[in-house]
């Protein structure tokens, strides 16, 4: 029988905190990380809100435990910061002590830094230290720099499936464990804000000029965010032999494509419905046993209708408590799945349901509304975490309380 997969370490950095504890504290205090950019050169500086990590790159280098150096993009530094914490929390001082794989996710790699020097790079008349950023554009660059800095030498991979990227990284890692390739995997994603993505989403007319309002009738779009998060996954036999501290169990997952439209979800949420249904079936949990759903909840017109319909189709009149944490962190694209997977573990560990900030008015298309106040002392045993992306990519994860 395939091994169970346990979560034994977590590390993160987002606009609401440099580590898991700070994130938890800000979630508890219901304090949003949304604001305006200090680091992107854009005409939308004071127009489009973003959830930016509140440190310049030099300070991030310190957090990441390295001296500032050329070629280490913000994407790498965010990732390395989260990676250090995840390993430390899992009690891993040296990743070489047991075969450990690394599955990373990113949507635009080192674009945050390459976009600043791109026109110098393509200009034969110019040369300088910027040339060290040439190869940082692709998504493998941050993976390899993080891997090399902390010493991963077993399997490494980078996944890019838009906003479901790190959910797919977690899934891929769990499957490699179940199939016996490696006993331990570190999976997640890293994403830095860029002028490229900000203009990309803005050109699609789905960025809100106000702080985003997921599942609200008046929502008009998303706010982008940046951050990184990694989770350490271990096989049951390894975790037991290693005497690992088990934080939660990763019981189910599904990746399904909607095959509906390049950038829009289907109105009835077919992909979301399939992903949640199959992930739950795999977890062996019933509909009634789901205590909380951390929805994708981007606050775009289309996503929230589609995801909401999928919730109503799957759960009928008994849709579990749900909320989007995007008003805290912004939409962190490739990192979102891993950040929200950590929030799922925190919900279970702390007995919390996080509020869906900025919600006021129920959507006319739906009968359901998200949780708007912080709930404490709730028994949370099973959480579904959704991540849906461009290209019809839908991913749902089920994270469960560890019970022997």
């Amino acid at each position: 029988m395939a091994e169970r997969v346990f979560i034994t370490g977590m590390g993160m950095i987002t606009a609401i905190g440099d580590n898991v504890a700070e994130n938890l504290d800000q979630l508890r205090q219901q304090r949003s990380g949304l604001g305006y950019t200090s680091y992107i050169d854009t005409i939308y500086k004071e127009v489009l809100p973003v959830a930016e990590v509140k440190h310049p790159n030099d300070a991030l280098s310190a957090l990441a435990g390295i001296t500032p150096r050329e070629g280490y993009t913000r994407t790498t530094l965010l990732g390395l910061t989260a990676m250090r914490e995840a390993l430390q929390q899992a009690g891993i001082t040296d990743v070489q002590t047991a075969p450990t794989g690394f599955i990373n996710a990113s949507t635009v790699g080192g674009m945050c830094d390459t976009e600043k020097v791109y026109f110098d790079i393509v200009d034969p008349a110019k040369s300088g230290t910027f040339l060290q950023y040439i190869d940082t554009l692709d998504c493998a660059d941050c993976t390899q720099r993080i891997a090399d800095t902390v010493g991963f030498s077993e399997h490494i991979a980078t996944i890019s499936t838009a906003c479901s990227s790190s959910a797919n990284a977690l899934m891929f890692g769990a499957r490699m464990i179940k199939q016996g390739f490696l006993p331990r995997m570190v999976c997640g994603g890293t994403e830095a804000l860029t002028r490229f993505t900000l203009n990309g989403f803005n050109s699609l007319k789905n960025v809100d000029k106000q702080f985003c309002r997921p599942f609200d009738q008046q929502r008009t779009g998303l706010n982008l965010g940046e951050g990184a998060a990694y989770l350490v996954l271990e096989s049951e036999s390894f975790a037991r032999a290693n005497n690992s501290r088990i934080l939660a169990e990763f019981t189910g997952y599904c990746n399904a494509n909607e095959a509906f439209h390049p950038t829009s979800p289907s109105p009835d949420g077919d992909g979301a419905y399939e992903a949640m249904k199959a992930a739950l079936a795999m977890s062996g949990r019933t509909l009634e046993e789901v205590d909380y759903i951390n929805v994708h909840g981007t606050a775009t017109l289309n996503n929230d209708v589609s995801e909401g319909k999928a919730l109503e189709r799957l759960f009928g009149n008994n849709v579990p408590l749900f909320s989007s944490t995007k008003p805290f962190t912004g939409h962190t694209l490739a990192a979102a799945g891993a950040i929200e997977a950590i929030y799922a573990v925190l919900a279970i560990q702390q007995g919390l349901i996080f509020p869906n900030l900025n919600f006021k008015e129920k959507m006319e298309e739906l009968n359901i509304a998200p949780v708007t106040e912080l709930m404490e002392g709730v028994s949370v045993n099973n959480v579904i975490s959704n991540s849906f992306g461009f290209g019809g990519n839908n991913a749902s994860l089920v994270i469960s309380k560890y019970e022997g």
Binding site: T42, T161, N202, N257
Partner: protein, 338 residues
């Protein structure tokens, strides 16, 4: 399976098609007529990589005889460079206003996967790996895992394009040879760098053989920044019964020693190299696998493609494909005749 490459691999007979060569250090794809595959109105909006990827995927499905496609898994090191460059340029040019979102949408690394899914109504698993010389190989590993988990089949492929701008960018950090090199003499002219290339290659994979099966993948290994000893140990695991070694040799003197080590491990075993056909790129390994499967299936080698090889192997039952991308991502795949 199907391949769009700098050679005439997509249409016609690969045994009579002449060897396409270059002396400009860049092999670009011989593109087919896309009209039989993609409706004209979509064709207009799509850039090269999307057209090449989608068309190769559709052709490989036709070739496979498989009716319903299950999971779709791809690898691409760079995604749609043309769209990425276009969007960066437009942001600059139009000062971040009135931008057309199409190049942004198409620049996402999974856009070809999404397109394929749309076209074939593929609602199963869908994933895209983007890790340089491990992009295709991770897609292959994922596919083999999916088959082991019970998927009926997978559509597995790789896609890479080279643009003039990106070719120049990579020239600034030593990816290509500085002197113009005749691709037919790639392996005789050891010097730093290689010649660039591109391609789209797709396979339909099944867990059990079908009447249309071309070859079987029976061994697989990926090594990240390995020492020479680790490469040797890895290749030695696959030593038994190999009757053809296919290498990703590319004339780059800086990393040639890895291939020379492979030569030493397989004395007397016939050897072919494929980068003079497709050029160096992140997912060239997929082209290598296509070529290995062709040879195993037809029991013939397109002789005109290998004028530098005096004796071509007569019977081929087991091929070892060994490739690495600039010395960092090393991959070995064993393919067998079915």
């Amino acid at each position: 399976m199907a391949a769009i490459s700098p050679q005439a691999t997509f249409e016609g007979d690969i045994f009579s098609a002449p060897l396409v060569h270059t002396d400009s250090n860049l092999l670009t794809c011989m593109e087919p007529d896309y009209k039989p595959f993609i409706p004209a109105n979509s064709l207009r909006r799509m850039t090269r990589l999307l057209k090449m990827g989608l068309t190769t995927a559709l052709q490989s499905i036709r070739d496979s005889g498989v009716e319903a496609i299950g999971p779709i898994v791809t690898g691409t090191g760079k995604g749609s460079l043309q769209d990425t460059e276009k969007f960066i340029r437009e942001i600059e040019q139009y000062k971040e206003t009135a931008l057309n979102p199409t190049p942004f949408i198409q620049s996402t690394y999974n856009s070809v996967n999404g397109l394929i899914a749309l076209q074939v109504k593929g609602t199963a698993y869908n994933n895209t790996f983007v890790h340089r010389g491990f992009s295709f190989e991770n897609a292959l590993l994922d596919s083999m895992m999916l088959l082991a988990e019970g998927a009926p089949n997978t559509l597995t492929g790789a896609l890479e394009e080279m643009t003039a701008e990106h070719f120049y960018i990579k020239s600034r950090i030593g990816f290509w040879k500085s002197a113009p090199t005749d691709s037919r003499r790639l392996y005789d002219q050891l010097s730093p760098g290689s010649i660039g290339g591109e391609g789209a290659t797709f396979f339909v994979l099944t867990g059990t053989p079908t009447p249309d099966s071309k070859a079987a993948v029976t061994g697989f290994k990926m090594l990240y920044k390995p020492t020479a000893a680790k490469v040797a140990a890895g290749l030695t695991e696959f030593k038994d019964g190999i009757d053809l070694v296919l290498t990703g040799r590319n004339g780059d003197s800086r990393y040639e020693h890895f291939y020379q080590q492979a030569d030493a491990l397989f004395p007397g075993v016939p050897q072919l190299s494929f980068k003079h056909l497709c050029g160096e790129h992140d997912t060239a390994g997929a082209f290598g696998m296509w070529l290995a499967a062709q040879i195993l299936h037809t029991q013939r080698v397109p002789a005109q493609w290998f004028p530098m090889v005096k004796e071509l192997p007569a019977v081929v039952n087991r091929v070892l494909l060994y490739n690495h991308f600039y010395g960092e991502q090393h991959t070995a795949i064993v393919l067998e005749r079915v």
